[in-house]
Amino acid sequence: MSELIDTYWIYFLVGQYPHGPLGGLALTVLLATLGLVLALPLGMALGVARFSPQAWLRRPVTAWIWVIRGTPLLMVVFWAYFFLPVVTGHKTNQFNTMLIALVVFDAAYLAEIVHAGLRALPRGQLGAALSLGMSRAQALRLVLLPQATRHMLPSLMNQFVSTIKETSLGTIIGLSELSYIANQINAQVLVKPVEVYVTLAGSYFVMCYGLTLMGRAAERRLARA
């Protein structure tokens, strides 16, 4: 076990970097962070659109969210992998493919969180803002969303944990994130699969459990404030 860690720890943490592309744990964290940060504005926009009184805006957005939420992430990854090159005309690398799949997928889930946050507010909030002469956009921006997002923080932490776990699917399109690296190490060592995969599981556990604990602390602070 210690020999395994001695030999492979750098590979496990950063992949072939600096002699090759970044990989391993660092790539997993980078991908999950970028994925969530980019999915946030899109999810916010979709969530607000789903709350809209205009049927031409609300219906297609609702349908889109249903379609994404009823489809496995892996399916979204394959669509991105095979059809981004067709649409853009040039080959997309694995990192961008996975990133786009994650953003599209997570945005649909974030939209539901935003929508639920908006719906949980008392109806009088919107009415009061409108009767004060605000436009609907102003009411959303200045009155509704600030209150809704306050309660979203714990859900966002959960979403970040999910996103970290979702990045593991990058393995399937050959992206050298953490799980892919573990598979490579397993293929090289051959005789220690249990040790390799327990270490892999442990690494995800430390990240995700740490974030879960932070999420709970945030929830407690919100409850107190």
Partner: protein, 233 residues
């Protein structure tokens, strides 16, 4: 965009592959439900136990399983666990359909961790006096749970359990990583045999979506039908 034609996919071998994949995906979902439900009830009871060590075991299980991606669970069960078995059993395992069994094991443990949380909140939603009243009538703790609390809790829990079933259905696709010949695996196989990626993925996406929408509709129906407020009036 190349010309689209679904015709080659809807005949002979390719259609048979896709249907076999759909069957295995549905079978995996069904088998996992059968094993994950009892396991999740047991874990929920551990977490609600009056004895602290049992609660700790239950909580450790849920946190440990949920904080690791399903893909890693599958890799572990496929590559790791068979190596831990004694030689005689190992050969039997490798001779059988190890990729299906590994996927089943990983899906069961993963799904049970999520379902147990739903069942636990269902049990907590049942007023505490129900348990005390049953025990005052002479039921043991376990009998009171089984005959009085759990039947009420599972009723409340049905909608979230259905949405966990939806997640389970989508999660079966990850089994393709260890070579389980479910729907996603067959989609890749048909794609590489026909080069009709768009059509293949469109068909398979539609298959996933139809089952998902069915489960979502069921969950909505259960929510409307079985919610405590609906039952009271």
């Amino acid at each position: 965009m190349p010309d689209l034609s679904f015709a080659p996919l809807l005949q002979g071998d390719y259609l048979a592959w896709l249907l076999a994949g759909l069957r295995l995906s549905l079978l995996l979902t069904g088998l996992t439900l059968l094993t994950a439900l009892p396991l999740s009830i047991a874990i929920a009871l551990l977490r609600l136990s009056p004895l602290r060590p049992l609660r700790v075991v239950g909580e450790a299980y849920v946190e440990a399983v949920r904080c690791v991606p399903l893909l890693v669970h599958m890799l572990f069960w496929y590559f790791g666990v068979p190596e831990l078995l004694p030689d005689g059993i190992k050969e039997t395992v490798y001779a059988g359909q190890i990729e299906v069994v590994s996927a089943w094991a990983a899906l069961t443990l993963y799904t049970a961790a999520y379902m147990s949380e739903d069942i636990r909140s269902g049990v907590r939603a049942v007023p505490g006096v129900q348990l005390s009243a049953a025990m005052a009538l002479g039921f043991s703790y376990l009998a009171a749970m089984r005959l009085v609390v759990l039947p009420q809790a599972l009723r409340i829990t049905l909608p979230p359990l259905l949405s966990q079933t939806l997640n389970l259905w989508k999660n079966t696709s990850i089994a393709t990583v260890i070579g389980t010949a479910e729907l996603m695996y067959q989609a890749q196989r048909v794609e590489s045999a026909t080069f009709r990626g768009f059509e293949t993925f469109a068909l398979v996406t539609a298959a996933y979506l139809s089952v998902s929408l069915l489960l979502t509709a069921l969950a909505h129906w259960a929510q409307a039908r079985l919610s405590p407020s609906g039952a009271r009036r």
